[in-house]
């Protein structure tokens, strides 16, 4: 099929999935609990407030009408009002998302680069000591609870070594002496772009441990996936042909085999992104970063249902869109998929 047809198909699928996400979230909120209106009005609400909520949620109407109203509101930017912050959920999300984005982006970049590089290395040095040690690292990274790793890192680097800070994205005093201009909401990016090097250095120090804690699992997965994909590619006939043509081993592994294994590796990358999105919540909790994670967790614990729904839809939608981008990249890398 042509490139255009493929794109069209994927976009249609995207729309369908986004609708599905909204449907499931809607069902979670309206069908699962005993009294959705009471939930929506909040734990403090009494009769009149609950009745008002019932009207707002159109609960006298059939379920599908409620759903249509819900989607209509979503598309018009009305994601409800947070019971806790009393602001619109959407504005809350916009306010808290950038910090999480910085964490997730940092961890994913680290995991991808280090994971793929080391994974290919273990395939190259298969059977050696380096391979064994790195594989232990990889499987260890995959088995660690990220929140526990975060705590261990805090003990080692803060309490024992006194080397790195463990609270917040930036030091309080730097916030006063060299405040960062708010452009994107991500301290590292904003500080770099505005040339605020003191703040950049400080926020970078605050960034190291959280990023490492979040990156451990995806790095391990990427390493293992790259290793197995490269080894599988090495077993193919075209590698034998390259061998027969005298191509050096280094080129065979890092160009020929690796390019063929990028498809499965990038598929896993999408999954790892999903993991990071939610894993960031725990890291934010432990390192006291006021990001989406803290917002989500506080919403859950305080039974702020509009906020919970908002976070769910946001995270799922971001995931779906990123997956689409990853699929497009894979199609670009592996010409068989689209052009055949």
């Amino acid at each position: 099929m042509t490139v255009r047809a493929y794109l069209l198909r994927r976009v249609l699928l995207l729309v369908f999935v986004l609708l599905g996400i909204s449907l499931i979230t809607f069902l979670l909120a309206r069908v699962v609990p005993a009294d959705p209106a009471a939930l929506y009005a909040g734990p403090q609400a009494r009769g009149p407030a609950i009745a008002a909520a019932r009207r707002l949620l159109h609960m006298n109407q059939p379920l599908y009408v409620q759903y249509v109203a819900y989607v209509w509101d979503l598309l018009h930017g009305d994601w409800g009002t947070s019971l806790r912050t009393h602001r619109s959920v959407l504005s809350d999300l916009v306010r808290f998302a950038p910090l999480s984005l910085q964490l997730v982006a940092g961890a994913m970049i680290l995991a991808t680069i280090v994971g793929i590089a080391l994974g290919a290395l273990t395939a190259h040095l298969k059977g050696g000591v380096v391979d064994f040690v790195l594989r232990i690292f990889a499987i260890g990274g995959v088995s660690l609870p990220s929140f526990w790793l975060a705590m261990m890192l805090q003990i080692v680097f803060f309490r024992v070594l006194h080397a790195l800070p463990v609270a917040g994205p930036i030091s309080v005093n730097v916030q006063f002496t060299d405040p960062i201009t708010h452009i994107t909401g991500m301290p590292l990016v904003d500080a770099l772009v505005t040339g605020n090097l003191t703040a950049f250095g400080d926020s970078f120090l605050h960034f190291i441990l959280p990023c490492l804690a979040l990156a451990a699992y995806p790095t391990g997965v990427m390493m293992r996936m790259t290793r197995s994909a490269v080894l599988e590619a090495l077993g193919q006939d075209y590698i034998r042909m390259a061998d027969a043509m005298g191509v050096p081993k280094r080129v065979i592994i890092y160009r020929y085999a690796l390019k063929n294994s990028l498809a499965p590796v990038f598929t896993v990358l999408g999954l790892m992104f999903a993991y990071s999105l939610v894993g960031a919540f725990f890291i934010e909790l432990i390192f006291a970063w006021p990001g989406l994670g803290s917002y989500a967790l506080q919403s859950i614990l305080s039974l702020d249902y509009p906020a919970i729904m908002g976070v769910t839809i946001l995270v799922a939608s971001v995931y779906v869109i990123v997956n689409l981008i990853v699929d497009l990249v894979i199609a670009w890398l592996d010409p068989r998929i689209v052009l055949s």
């Binding site: 075209y238 390259a242 027969a244 191509v247 010409p335």
Partner: protein
């Protein structure tokens, strides 16, 4: 008589090239091949370690290829013909495969003694190989042009423009239009025949002197087969590329090869000029092979060879064909037959043939 006299089994394989220099120069197609070995394999034995035991894949292979000559290596699946081809290029996986005896000599140099690094310098540049499935042999995520150019850049030390020119030239030599369209095509966009030509273009792009083709036509339609075989002949005529054509199809060998070597269970049982071996086969296996070919339009019953190919982990002692051979004698079960000359350039490894030839009567027809 070929100077490459295969050593008798049991005798130590000579490490130095045999005495008697090969006369230089090309042997015109069809003529009985004299000396002048480009490639000589003598007494080659290869074993594989597997979970079930040691597989004695090659049990003393002797064959030779003269410059500009096309040698057919014929036999059933599993007889070791592909293994022989891999062995020449040193492509057998090292810890699993072991060369236990014999030698492979190319242009007077011992290949078995070379390091991996030295072999890489030879592969693709001096000796090349193409395989059975051209789609699997080409990397699906690189264009044909990229793959060939990389080999050219590697071995000829050029880059960019000159490399692309050489790529085009290689494509043209194999009958592919040297257009940008072809260069920028991915393997799955080409037809089977074009893919095989592309593989061959890669193989000859750096001026190889010897091409080993492992079942190059098996995966292709009959009509394309004929084209590829014609291409092989053309490569020999125009570029002087000597070839080893590995195939299980006797007809293919008959069409294209100057000489043919018949393999069974890891050893060469008969070899000689194609026309002679086809008209006057001596070895019981060769004879049986020809009888299995459907003859013309007579709807006679199809022959099969009774019995089955031996298990190479525990092969029969002596001549490996003896369990299925109608002419087997006692000596066949204990002693491996040595190659015996039956005519000019025509050798057979069979006790029965040797016995009849030694008989004090004029040459006995098989």
């Amino acid at each position: 008589m070929s100077s490459a006299i295969p050593p008798a089994p049991g005798a130590p394989a000579p490490r130095a090239p045999a005495a008697g220099a090969a006369p230089a120069g090309a042997a015109p197609a069809g003529a009985p091949v004299g000396a002048g070995d480009l490639l000589r394999i003598a007494g080659l034995k290869v074993e594989f370690r597997s979970m079930r035991g040691v597989v004695k894949a090659l049990d003393g292979v002797n064959l030779s290829v003269a410059p500009r000559e096309i040698l057919g290596l014929v036999g059933e699946s599993g007889c070791g013909k592909s293994v022989t081809g891999f062995a020449v290029l040193g492509l057998l996986p090292r810890p699993i495969a072991r060369y236990t005896d014999g030698e492979i000599v190319f242009r007077g140099e011992d290949l078995l003694g070379k390091s991996e690094h030295e072999m890489r310098a030879l592969r693709g540049k001096v000796i090349s190989m193409v395989f059975q499935d051209p789609l699997a042999s080409l990397n699906p995520v690189f264009t044909v042009g990229e793959q060939i150019s990389r080999v050219v850049r590697l071995h000829r030390g050029v880059s960019g423009g000159p490399a692309r020119e050489m790529t085009r030239e290689a494509l043209a030599a194999t009958g592919l239009p040297p257009t940008d369209e072809i260069l920028q095509s991915y393997p799955h966009q080409l037809s089977g025949g074009m893919r095989q030509r592309a593989c061959m273009a890669m193989a000859i792009s750096c001026g190889s002197e010897l091409l080993i083709a492992d079942e190059p036509t098996t995966a292709l339609d009959v009509t394309i087969q004929a084209q590829i075989l014609k291409l092989l002949l053309r490569l020999r005529e125009e570029r002087g590329v000597a070839q080893v054509l590995i195939t299980h199809n006797v007809g293919v060998a008959a069409q294209t090869c100057d000489r043919v070597a018949v393999m069974y269970a890891g050893t060469v049982v008969e070899q000689g000029p194609t026309a002679r071996v086809m008209k006057h086969p001596y070895h019981p296996y060769t004879i049986a092979l020809y009888e299995c070919l459907p003859q013309g339009k007579r709807a006679a019953e199809l022959h099969t060879i009774p019995g089955s190919v031996p298990d190479l982990i525990d092969p029969p002692p002596g001549c490996r064909y003896h369990p299925r051979c109608p002419r087997a004698m006692d000596v066949c079960t204990t002693v491996k037959p040595a190659p015996t000359p039956v005519a000019e350039g025509h050798w057979v490894s069979c006790h029965d043939v040797a016995r009849r030839l030694a008989a004090p009567v004029h040459e006995v027809a098989p």
